[in-house]
């Protein structure tokens, strides 16, 4: 089982890498082709080229769905091999992070058909997988503090959902800012990007609330205190409050677009700080 999880992990990484290359062709290809056909004056060729671009996009999606499938298999295999949810060290967290990001991204791609979003979000997932592959992947048994099967799995599963949603919000806000600077026909419209950002917070904000609550429930069971201002706790609270600020700015102040996009960038910076926080903050969460 452990080998199965390793093979599927590598397969996921390769599929995602190739898929991502196809996304690049799909998104940037038509522009290159247009430039080319302008020079040669040939329309015949450019037609077959642009259909090739579309095919590239389709296969890109198929590959990233496959990568998601492989990674799911890898997680399940590791779960079986370890006998507990594979969420006990930084390697496992990072694989889970990539998984959540890919899952939520694919949902958004299916909803909005915006592969250009994938150009920003999928590299985050790929980066997490590469990062995970540099960490020792041997399975460690659970130390006493983590021995709460249910809470460990749910707490982390919900967290990666929230992180994935915030990664999508990050991608959409970057695209928004690019689009703002110089209007590009191959990017989704700005209102769509703004909406994607908002929807990502609609998913991420309640999930993050749940992460914090589940963490508090767990801390209460393990240490008798539901809140200890532990650095990771505090960082996730601050992250949540930033996204809360985003929601309030929209509802109360009617903010849309650019300022919202900057808030989402700030939010994702806080998310990454929360994720890697145990490296430079220590505290009760330092199981890395």
């Amino acid at each position: 089982m452990f080998e199965v999880s390793q093979y599927t992990f590598v397969a996921a990484m390769v599929a995602l890498g190739v898929g991502l290359a196809l996304y690049v062709i799909n998104v940037f290809g038509p522009r290159g082709v247009r430039a080319l056909s302008f020079n040669t004056g040939g329309t015949q060729e450019s037609d077959s080229f642009s259909s090739a671009m579309k095919t590239a996009g389709r296969y890109g999606t198929i590959l990233s769905v496959n990568a998601f499938g492989f990674l799911t298999a890898s997680l399940i295999a590791r779960w079986i091999a370890a006998g507990h949810g594979p969420f006990s060290n930084m390697h496992e967290f990072s694989v889970a992070f990539a998984w959540g990001t890919m899952g939520i991204y694919l949902y958004f791609e299916q909803q909005y058909h915006a592969r250009s979003l994938g150009l920003l979000v999928l590299p985050i997932a790929l980066g997490m997988l590469i990062y995970a592959s540099t960490l020792p992947d041997d399975m460690q048994p659970l130390v006493p503090a983590l021995q709460h099967e249910f809470l460990l799995s749910v707490h982390v599963a919900v967290a990666i959902g929230a992180y994935g949603a915030f990664a999508v919000g990050f991608g959409s806000s970057i695209l928004f800012l690019v689009q703002q600077k110089k209007s590009m026909s191959w990017l989704p419209e700005r209102t769509t990007l703004d909406e994607i950002g908002y929807r990502s917070v609609m998913i991420g904000f309640p999930l993050m609330a749940l992460v914090i609550i589940l963490g508090a429930v767990w801390a209460e069971i393990a240490w008798g205190r539901y809140w200890s201002w532990d650095p990771k706790e505090t960082a996730s609270l601050v992250t949540w409050l930033i996204y809360g600020g985003y929601l309030h700015a929209r509802v109360i102040r009617g903010w849309r677009g650019e300022r919202c996009a900057y808030l989402l960038l700030l939010g994702f910076a806080a998310t990454m700080f929360t994720y890697f926080g145990n490296y430079f903050l220590g505290g009760l969460h330092s199981y890395g």
């Binding site: 909005y112 006493p144 609330a209 008798g224 205190r225 809140w227 609270l237 601050v238």
Partner: protein
């Protein structure tokens, strides 16, 4: 005085105030997280506190330490001003929410049912059909379609026309209240915990001993056995304490406390928190009178060398004895394995009288007394907590999630319809929906339109509806 109340009210309706408060709280939390915390027991003892301060001066510098101390930053989460900020934010949230109540109440309940033609023409989402039947019959059909789409419908019949208003998930509007109420309750829960809660995060019981819990209770805890187990790979597998809880000296409960599985008695919870080594010491006078016989928990670490250390006093001799164990996992030149080092101080002056190493099981004459390091043992460190605010916090947490789900996943949708007979006897049916220009609202309108369209077509197959939806 009504004006004053009005002003105060107005002051608290300000969103800017909320932002300032949230910013201040965030800054305080940030400071509180980055700066060392003084343990409560040290803070309440002026001498210990000034000693603690002089130690952190080494880390932060003399002046910053003075500033931090002045602002109580070493103890932020327990200070009055931090709680005052939380209190102000609470009032702010309550007032803001109440202030919105009227507007929200209005949108949640059936508003005007009959809308103008202009409204139907200009609504962001609209559709139009023409039917070959009277307005009343058309209205029944439209109503059926809306009901199928799970909308709640109210109608208002008029002269040759019927107006309809339909909505779903109107309670969603209260999601804002529910989630803000949750925030207030969470803050309330922490205050209740702070005022009526009891806790000792470092309750130490050596093996074989019974210790009083204190905290105003007559409970005591006896540790029968502490066990730490390790996986063959090295990491810890299990820490558990077999304990007996006594009330007024009578056994009332017995069991095993593990990390992640605390024991509860009468609202008081006992959590496995830490553990360590004890040195069982025996001290006698030259004449053989026993002055001390029992375990000394080595619960602290020496500043240099990080050796486990603990102390006990010999009251009759006016002496304080510090017991220092060997560093774990390495060869310690100062305290070789199997030995304990003792340092004897005079309680009154604090002067060091003598220091020496004791090997296990042999009697040593030190400073006119007879010392024996009998054997090593274990102690358990329990965290003892009683927090009546926890339940409030859990209820509030559930409300928070419920409120957010209501807001985001059950959005309130509102729709108006009008069935109006035209001079030629046909009936014009119009639908209009308000809402954000976003794909979910578009999809929802599409869904409703199809439902209603299906009903209309079902009755009048040959009458193709004229579709006018211009959703921009």
């Amino acid at each position: 005085e009504f004006r004053i109340v009005g002003r105060v009210w107005h002051f608290f309706t300000s969103v800017r105030l909320a932002l300032i408060l949230i910013f201040a709280i965030t800054a305080a939390v940030f400071a509180g997280t980055m700066i060392d915390h003084v343990p409560p027991s040290v803070r309440s003892d002026p001498a210990a506190y000034s000693q603690w301060l002089s130690r952190v001066e080494g880390t932060y510098g003399v002046f910053p330490t003075k500033v931090f101390d002045f602002l109580e930053l070493f103890n932020v989460f327990r200070t009055l001003w931090f709680r005052a900020l939380l209190g102000l934010l609470t009032v702010n949230i309550i007032v803001c929410t109440l202030n919105r109540w009227k507007g929200i109440w209005r949108t949640a309940f059936p508003p005007r049912i009959r809308m103008t033609d202009a409204f139907f023409q200009h609504a962001r989402f609209n559709a139009r059909y023409v039917l070959n039947e009277p307005a009343e019959a058309a209205a029944v059909t439209v109503r059926k379609g809306l009901k199928h789409a799970r909308y709640r419908v109210s109608t208002e019949a008029g002269e040759g026309s019927v107006a309809l208003y339909a909505d779903r998930n109107r309670f969603s509007r209260f999601g804002t209240f529910v989630s803000h109420l949750a925030l207030v309750l969470i803050l309330a829960g922490t205050v209740v915990g702070g005022m009526w809660g009891l806790s000792d995060p470092e309750f130490i019981v050596p093996e074989g001993m019974t210790r009083d819990v204190g905290l105003g209770t007559d409970l005591s805890v006896q540790l029968e056995h502490f066990t730490d187990e390790y996986y063959t790979e090295g990491p810890p597998k299990d820490f558990r304490s077999d304990i007996v809880i006594l009330k007024g000296g009578e056994e009332v409960k017995r069991g095993t406390v593990r990390v992640n599985s605390p024991m509860t008695y009468d609202g008081m919870k006992f959590h496995q928190s830490f553990f360590g080594q004890t040195a069982v010491m025996a001290v006698k006078t030259k004449e053989g009178t026993s002055l001390y016989d029992g375990p000394v928990p080595l619960a602290w670490q020496t500043r240099e060398g990080n050796r486990p250390v603990g102390n006990f006093t010999l009251g009759s001799e006016n002496l304080e004895v510090w017991v220092i164990g060997p560093k774990s996992g390495e060869n310690d030149p100062l305290v070789p394995a199997g030995e304990m080092r003792i340092e004897i101080y005079e309680s009154s002056s604090g002067a060091l009288r003598t220091a020496t190493n004791l090997s296990q099981g042999t009697e040593h004459d030190v400073s006119g007394l007879n010392f024996t390091f009998v054997r090593e043992g274990r102690f358990t460190g329990l965290s003892v907590v009683k927090d009546p605010g926890v339940k409030i916090v859990w209820v509030a947490s559930a409300l928070m999630i419920i409120g957010l789900v209501m807001l985001f996943y059950m959005p309130h949708r509102r729709l108006w319809a009008s069935c109006k007979e035209m001079p030629d006897g046909k009936t014009e049916v119009r639908l209009a929906m308000t809402g954000q220009r976003d794909s979910q609202v578009i999809a929802e309108f599409e869904r409703v339109r199809q439902r209603v369209g299906k009903e209309l077509r079902g009755r009048h197959a040959k009458d193709e509806p004229e579709q006018g939806g211009n959703h921009v």
